[in-house]
Every structure is written in structure tokens, then in C-alpha cells.
Symmetry: D2
Subunit: 338 residues, 4 copies
């Protein structure tokens, strides 16, 4: 940690401050006296030091961390890739391409089972479907809730596909006991009370990046879950909010290689939410594979025009067949030659 002091910092303040730091933390303090400012360098384990506390001293000009503030999610301390393995043997992060597909919302048994069969045939290894839906408007369809979870279990029984579905409140956790992968949506990425509860269970968590969260904040939210003892976290880039209005969000494709470098956790991409437009799913999915993503999560609906939510970005099963074929081929070709 590097601390730049203001020119008006007195020797007495400086001594008192550095003594305090050495006393409270296991650090050594180096001091440099420059022409315009004095700089302190803290050596040791600085991760317990609150950067806000340092910045609050009125003789401090600025502070900069040299070490990343996350540990369990950090590749430096865990060089090998984390591979998520489900009881049925499905994997995410093992070098193959994993696809999670299904409708935005679970609507009826026919719908979810038909979609499940179709995405399975196309090669998807996981079924997604929303039972609890975060909607901007209180007047919009809010999901089938417990009934939706029941329908997902039906679809799993018929197809064998593990199910991935979103949780919106820790209070619902008992309903999720039988869910294979629990998703945390973008709007809850910093719902820290929820993250803490998810740290206590032993089930993979699919953690979506918040609408305007930095890469570091996403990793800090993963750290919340991991700090609780649950190290099965899957990171998901799903587009960030920018000034561009053509797409619903802007897919930050750079986040894929960056997350892979900074962390050992698997990284997947959601081209459906990133764009909000069905015809963009294919090129964005291809880009994600080429950039090194471990998987994709794609919205598929048997009848997008009748979907109760997110129809505009859902693929039909036929369109999904085509996209799945292309991305699996690309993954095979690019990873062979790479």
C-alpha cells in the first residue's frame, strides 16, 4: 500500500501515524521525502487495512493498493483453475464449452419440458429457467415462484439436465435445496446479506456481474461467498451499462480474459442479456468462445412472441440449434489450434 501525504503534514503527525500503523497491523513502513510530497510504503499483509480509514486522515493526499483486496478468488494464491463438477458429472471450467440454456421465465410444464428437450438435443448440458423474476415494474409478471421450481424439477426428471435458477432473497433458500446451481442476478450482485447466506451452503453459485460493477467488485462479491466457505463460484459477464442505446447493455468482452487471469474461477458469458436482441446472440456467443469463455448462458423459448418476459432476446429452439452448432464447432477448432 502506497500513501501520498499532503505537503502540510507535520513530522509529529507523520510519526504518530506510522507508529500507529506498525502497532495495529503486521506491516513495516518505508518513508520517502520527495520535493513536493512525502510518500509512505507499507510492506506486509495490508489486506486487513481499510483504505477508507487511511484516506480519511486529513494529511493524506491519496492511497493506492498494490495488492488485490481479494484472496480466495485470486489466482495468485490458487494458480489452478477451479472446475465445478455436478453430481451427474457435468462440469464447468474444465476446458470444454458448457452451455446453460432455457427460457427467461418458467411458464408451463409443456413449455419448460419442450424447451429442455430441445436444448438438450442441441447439446446444452444445463437447463436455465426463472421462477423468481426481478422485474423493473411491480405490475409485470413476477414468475411462478415455488411452482416454477417444481416445473424445473419436472423438466430435469425428463431430460437429466441439471437446473440453474435465480434466487432473489435468502428467505427463499429452503425452496432451492434441490436446485443444482443457484444464480445471483446482476441486481443482487452486491446484496451482501444474500451473498453471506450463499457462502454457508455447499452448492455452485452462478454470480452475475452487476450492471455497473467493476471487475474488481465482481471478484469481491465472489470473495463474500468464498469467505463463507463456499468455493464453487461461477462468474458471469452479462453486459454493463454504458451510454450506447442500440443494445440493452454493452458486452464487456475484455472481462473474460481479465477474469481468467485474475481469478481461477470459471467465467461464462450471457449474450442474451448483454444485447437484449435475439439476432445478436450468435455473434456475441462466438466472440465469447473466441475470447476464452468457459461457457455460455442463452435464453431459448419455444415461442418467443408469447414469452412472458424477455421475448425480444430469446432464441427459438431452431435458432438455438444453429448457434449451438456454431459455438461447439468453434470451441473445438479454436482450442485445437490454440
Amino acid at each position: 500500500m502506497i500513501i501520498v501525504l499532503k505537503p502540510n503534514c507535520t513530522v509529529e503527525q507523520l510519526n504518530h501515524f506510522t507508529e500507529g500503523l506498525k502497532h495495529d497491523y503486521d506491516v513495516k513502513v518505508n518513508t520517502w521525502v520527495g520535493t513536493q510530497s512525502t510518500v509512505l510504503g507499507l510492506i506486509g499483509d495490508t489486506s486487513a487495512i481499510d483504505i477508507d480509514y487511511i484516506a480519511a486522515q486529513d494529511f493524506v493526499e491519496s492511497v493506492k493498493r498494490v495488492q488485490e483486496p481479494y484472496k480466495k478468488a485470486n489466482r495468485k494464491f490458487h494458480p489452478d483453475n477451479t472446475v465445478i463438477t455436478l453430481p451427474g458429472g457435468q462440469k464447468i471450467g474444465d476446458g470444454s464449452l458448457s452451455i446453460i440454456a432455457g427460457p427467461c421465465s418458467v411458464e408451463t410444464e409443456d413449455q419448460i419440458c419442450e424447451v429442455a428437450e430441445r436444448v438438450k438435443t442441441a447439446g446444452a448440458q444445463f437447463l436455465r429457467g426463472g421462477a423468481f423474476k426481478p422485474r423493473t415494474s411491480p405490475y409485470a409478471f413476477q414468475g411462478l415462484k415455488a411452482d416454477g421450481l417444481e416445473l424445473l424439477r419436472e423438466a430435469r426428471k425428463k431430460t437429466g439436465l441439471p437446473i440453474v435458477t435465480e434466487i432473489m432473497s435468502a428467505a427463499h433458500l429452503p425452496l432451492f435445496e434441490d436446485v443444482d446451481i443457484i444464480q445471483v442476478g446482476a441486481r443482487n450482485m452486491q446484496n451482501f446479506e444474500l451473498l453471506k447466506e450463499l457462502g454457508k451452503i455447499r452448492k455452485p453459485i452462478l454470480l452475475k456481474r452487476g450492471l455497473s460493477s467493476t471487475i474488481e467488485e465482481l471478484l469481491m462479491s465472489a470473495e463474500y461467498i468464498m469467505a463463507g466457505g463456499n468455493d464453487q463460484v461461477i462468474l458471469c459477464e452479462r453486459g454493463i451499462r454504458t451510454y450506447e442505446t442500440y443494445t440493452r447493455n454493452t458486452l464487456d468482452i475484455s472481462a473474460v480474459p481479465i477474469l481468467k487471469r485474475l481469478s481461477h474461477l470459471p467465467v461464462i458469458v450471457d449474450p442474451s442479456h448483454a444485447s437484449g436482441i435475439a439476432w445478436l446472440v450468435e455473434p456475441l456467443a462466438m466472440a465469447a468462445v473466441a475470447a476464452g469463455a468457459d461457457g455460455l448462458i442463452i435464453e431459448v423459448h419455444n415461442n418467443p412472441a408469447k414469452a412472458l418476459s424477455d421475448g425480444a432476446q430469446s432464441l427459438t429452439p431452431d435458432q438455438f440449434d444453429h448457434v449451438a452448432k456454431r459455438v461447439f464447432t468453434a470451441a473445438k477448432l479454436l482450442r485445437t489450434e490454440g
Copy 2:
């Protein structure tokens, strides 16, 4: 609602679609045939129509709402200002300037009581203090929780100031029974499960704008609370996330007059979080008053350099005295001449 169709929409599709709309909703449909596209205009109550559903039709090019999607928060249907009145007679939204002040985190009885006395003397009518703290890092101080609420009650007993504090989970609601105003933080603005629970109680809710939420999304979150029957919502602009790095966030000062025009709810500004820098609190607070804000929420700590969180943006009680004097004077002068 205006719907632009793609050039390839067939007459059969068009008829089927418009018949469906007229059947399902209480609307009339006007059709225009243009040189390059056909446009539909829906007249009637379109607020129940899901815009996603329309956009999902593959013959639809784009959709645009003419009516706002919020009703209870909408000034059109409720022209008079909402005034929040507490049992002790304190008001927000009545034309006077309301100030909520106090530390980021409640730390000790001495701390909260000393700050409470000082901000009361300076003119603040409400005491803020965090007991449950949303922190980016799981390793940072998370607040005193229930004990913090107890200390706030102590400070209220000593000063008579109503207390304002943040809730992070609906599961904590029983602990908040005795809190005067419950705050929803920026990271929870779209924690819809929490909003629904807050709609069921009868207590003022201070709703902070999300880090990258639009003005309309803030009003939709207010609508969630109001749709549940709780119409005591106070809106808070606290800075949005932009590319500028000098400040922690960018205060969107325009949001103040816009929210006042679109909605009847009171609007306050948080210059402490908007900037993250203590010396900016004064000019931003002044700007907020000049732009028409109903109130301010300001972080004050008896010893910012020792604060367990957000010290860099906290004022000392002496600094707060000065700011309070300036903003109350400005409110008086500007509202007299206005």
C-alpha cells in the same frame, strides 16, 4: 404506446396481432401505413402491457411508451406534493429544508450521542447512522448490527432526533420496528423482494438511487413500495457511476428538478456519497438547495480520521456547523426571493 412494424409484416400478422391486443387489453389500435413502415398507436390504459412482449414479436421494429410506466409515484395522478410527517412533527417535503446528519457507521455510545448533540445544535432535524453496513469487502467492518440500532435509540432518547438507518435484508425488519425512517441503500434499490416487504409496512422509506439507475428506474422502485400500500417514500439522489475518477460518483444535480416534476415525492440529496470527499460536501449541498432539493443527508463524524468507514467523506461537527449555517441561510434567501 407506439409500435413500429418491420416492412416484412404481413397483413395477416398485423390483423392477428391487433385483434389480440384489443381482446387482451382495454385499448383501441390505430394503424398508419407509411412509405417504409407501418405504425400502430395504442390508445387507452397501456400500463398493463409488457413492453418486452411487444418487442418480442418478430415483425416489430421498435416500441415506445407515451405514458410513464409508474402511476402511484406520478405527479400527473397526484399533483400535490407528498409531505412526510413524523410523530414528533418533523417534516420532509413541506417546503422547508430538512437535514439528516450523522456518522456513516454507529461505533460507540459516546460517538453517536456526541455527534447527535452536535448536529442537533447545528440545526439537523434527523440523525443518521449505519448499523448494518454494505461493504464491498467481506473483510471490512460490517457494522454493529442490533447493537448499533440500540445505540441509535439511545441517541434519540437523549436528543429527540428521529433516527434514519439502512436495512439490508427483509429478515431484519423486526429489528427496525422502532426506527423512524428506514433507508434502502443504492445497492439494494432493485432488491425487489426487500421493496415488496417495505411496501407492507407503514413507515417512511428513504430510497436511494442505484449506482447506475435511471431516473425512471428509481421511480419504478418507489412504485414497488407504493404498490404495496406504503406511500411514504423519500427519493434520494446520491451520485451515479460515470467515467470520471476524481469523485467517487458524479452527482446528477439535474435529477432533483426532474424528480420533483415527474413525481410528488420529496427529493433529498446526499453530497457525501456523491463525491466521497469532505471538502466537496459544502458546494454540492449548496447546489442541491439551489436546484430545489427538499433536504440533505450528510455524513458527520466526531473524529473522521478514526471513523470505521467513509472517513474521507465525513465532516467534523465544526465543519458541519459551517455547512448547515450556509445551506439554511441559502434556503431561506433563495426561497424568499424565488
Copy 3:
């Protein structure tokens, strides 16, 4: 064009306004009277109507264009891909992958010639190099200017690679007569006086997207050049400004398929400026190819650590060999199976 009127618009205002529109432009006006507002639909050629003029009427609530405001750059009116062909036969936009490579700044004859030889060997068909450099600081190296152009010509003579270099002022145009492709940098994308001058010449223009320009604004800037009669425009996505600080900019990969759909012009990607980090160039270049880009522009320096500008994002010739091999292979594989 769809115009929503305010509820207080009088019949007299409405009649006067619609008569004026029909008189001044070749349009028909349809009127709908809704429950809360009246809506006008303009049919005909509305591209000459200034949307600001409409919005300025005090009885107008909002205006929305149905037609895109660009014509010459619009694929609707020019369905076939534009292919840029240089006198030496090199092409951009013909379905193959075009690579422009070279140093940020031209520094010495040895440097530019060595880099040119190396990138040619690796398969690049074009040489880039900056002679006039837009630098944030007036104290930073500003480029070799005319001497730099001379060195580029030397490198072209030795390798046969056409040269691509940036222009910063129309006043320099005489110096650029012998340049093969003239680049307009991100900071000049809306330097309309420069665009107008470039519309008068008959030479391909590589137009970079502005730091915070929308896709539509990029196409409008292309339209400026094309409106002058120069229809050889190459569009370049080079990252946009967002709140994320890990990368210098955020590559908007979605812009590639969107620009290809909206326009017939070729689209290339600059992974070097988009990220500002050398190790990110490979995954971003791969993503660009997978998303359908017609080409790439990549910074290569024979000694990045000694580069006078942008060293942190430059590849060494050896690194470029590797990237070029991967992207050419990917282009071949993906376009064969596609």
C-alpha cells in the same frame, strides 16, 4: 417520424403546425387523439426535417425518428458490401481478414522498416504508423510529422505494404497525397470541418469511433464523408469510455455485427487501443474475428519498452507472429464452417 403532443396543445396550434409541416416538406400527417395525448405520424421523406426543430415546439412532448438519419452509409439503400480495393490489389471488406499493423509512432527509418518487414512476413497486408500524434499532453512526443510520412514511404518502398496514417488537420492534406489510407482518430471523429475536406478527396478513409460516440453518430460521421462524394469509408471500433478502469477503454464487440447490419461499409477492430494492454490484444482480436470483423489494426513495435508512445499496448514482432497466426487460422476455420 412520430410526434407526441402535450395535453395542453390547442386545436389551433395543432392545425397550424400540421399545415406548416405539409407545406414545408413532402410529408403527409396522420393524427391520433389518445386519452392522454395526441400523436402525429409523418409519412414521406422525413430525413430533411430537423428533429430539434420539432422538439422545440412548446406543445411537443417528444419526437422519435422511424427512419435512420443516414442514407449513403445505410445498408437499406445499398444492400451489397462495400469493398475497398487499393491500386496494389489489397482489399478490405471482401470476406477475407485484413490486418493493418505497425508502430503507434514512426520513430526512425530502422524502426519502421524493421517492423514493416516483420508484420509483412506475419501476413499483415497494410502498414500503420503515426506521423502526426494526438497526445493528451502538450509536453509529450508529438510525432515526426512530415519526416514521419517520408519514413513511411520508405518502408512502403521496401515492403510494398500500403500505408495507413492519421491526419489531424485538413491543413496537412497536401502532405497526405501519397498516403494509401488516411485515418481519422477517435478524438477527431466529430471534427466536421476535417470530415468535409475528406469527403472531397478520392482515397479510403479509416474512421475511428469517438471515445463516447454512439453507433449512430459513427455512421453520421461516415455520412459526412460520403455526402461529399467519397464513399470509401472503413469503420473502426476501438473501445468506448466506460466506468471500468482495468482497461483503457471498453471494447464494444457488439458494434461489429450491428455496424455490419446497419451499413454496407467494412468494419475493423483495434484491440490495441481498446484495451491499452499488450496481453489483451490476442483474445480481443480473436473475439473480433469471431464476431465478424473484416479486419484488425494492431500496434507492433520492435522494442515496446523504448517506444515513444503507447508501448504498454504494443506487441513485439514475435508476439504479433503468434497473434497473426491465430487470427488467420480462426478466420479460415470459422468462415469455412459458418
Copy 4:
């Protein structure tokens, strides 16, 4: 300047690098060896060191400047406020409130003269009007150019108000000889060739912040002009681009006190462009005054509904009377009590 090295940096590289720095620049280098990384601290005049050059070394992890990269615009080296004084005695930056008002575009002699008379009567000390107009569309009105400048001179003759108008190309400079204050628009803030030419003249330059420029970049552009010897620069905050769509731009009100603290140059605010909406001009102008702005630039048109550009954000002369009265009163009251 603080340089963090990667763990794999060898002692030989380190020695070679630090010797080179000491040889090339007038700096001393301090070295700290930490547990995970080594940090260098450069003491002396580091402003000539290119931060890109440092970052490009492959053993460098990150670099951070301690000193600001601008000097002539920096308040540290020029503590007193710069006051711009025109030959007619009008001042900007002397503690009073300066108002520049007038139409977006000069259209006719009657129009500009009528507006000039009205804004003068209301208290404006300067007349604005666009003769060369930067328009997104090549098909929109581009301004009256030289004829527009002539009409501005007429209006000045009639009212005595100094004229402020935008330049779009250094090639037009001869036409601007008789202009009192030359404006650089947001889209040209980083048109460095133009800035260099403006550094050679001796006339006040009104420099608008770019659409997505940081505060530091704005100051660096001012530095370009000042480095050429022209120290009469007026900074203008005019709204930045964000994700919020209600307003055309988002006024960054914090930029006012920050610019005043970092620089000695006068700072004005453009509430018309910041919002794009006429009714928002008043509250934003009030906020700017309260935040400490030295002046305002406001669009006024005698008939906004007939304006050839920007009508939606223009005030009528009557509306401007009201706004001017409020802001002058506010400036008087707030600066007296402050």
C-alpha cells in the same frame, strides 16, 4: 511518480532501468523491496517523463503520478485567480457573475439584434451566437459562417456586448480576428492542432469540456493553449455523457468546485447544453451559481419554435429575464453571506 514492479523483475533489469531514469531525467530513485513486489519512488521533476514509456516496460506492474501533469493551468504554481478582462472592461473570474447569452445559431440580423438587446437589458454582459455550427448530420443547417460573424459584429455595434462564437477549424482564424472571445466546442476539445493555433493568438478562449473528457483532460487541453503562450482560458462545464437518457447530457456540477481548486482559471457552466431542455436551465443555473461558478452561458432565442438549431433548449427573452433575475440575486445573496 511511483512505479510498482512485477515480482519477476530481475536485479539486473532493475539496476539498468533506474540508472537510465537517473541519467535521462533530473530525478532521484528510491527503491523499496516489499514482500510481494518492489516499488520505486521517483523524486524530482517527473512531468517530462512519459507515463506510457514507464508502463511499457515488461517488468512494470503499474505507475502512478503524484504530481499533476499540467503546470500552467495549475493553481499550485499560480495561486491567484486568473481574471479575464476585455478591452471594454467586461470581466470573467473577478468574483462577479458573468453571463453570456444568445441564440445557438445566428440566423438573421433582426434575430441576433433583437436577442442581443433583450439579453443586455436582462443583465448579460456578453453575446453568444453560432456562425459555424458543428452538427451531427451533414444535412442539418451548418450556420451562416462568415455572414453570421458579420451579423454578430452588427449586434455588437448596436449593443456594445462583446461577442463569443465558436471556431471549428484553425483555417477560419483570419475570420475571427474581430471576435472578442473564441469558443472551442466540446467536440473539438481534443482537436490538438486547433488548440496549438489558439495558443499563438492573444485572445480569450472559452474551452468547453469534451462529451466524455475527464477533468484532468480538460485541464490538459487548457495547458495546450497556455503552453503556446495564451494564458486567457475560460473553462466551461457543459454536461458529460452518461447512461441517463432523460437529459441530453448529465451536468457534472462537482466539476465546478474541483476545477476552481485545481486551477486558477475561471469556470463557467452551460446549463442549456447540459440538459437540452429549456425548463431545466433555471434550476441548473441556480445550482451552478451556488456551487461557485464564475459565469453562465445560456441559449436564448426570440422564437425558439422557429430556431434553426437547439430550439428545445433555448429560453425565450422573457424566460431569460426571469432566470437572469434569479441568478444575479442568488449570486449577490450567497456571496454576501458566504
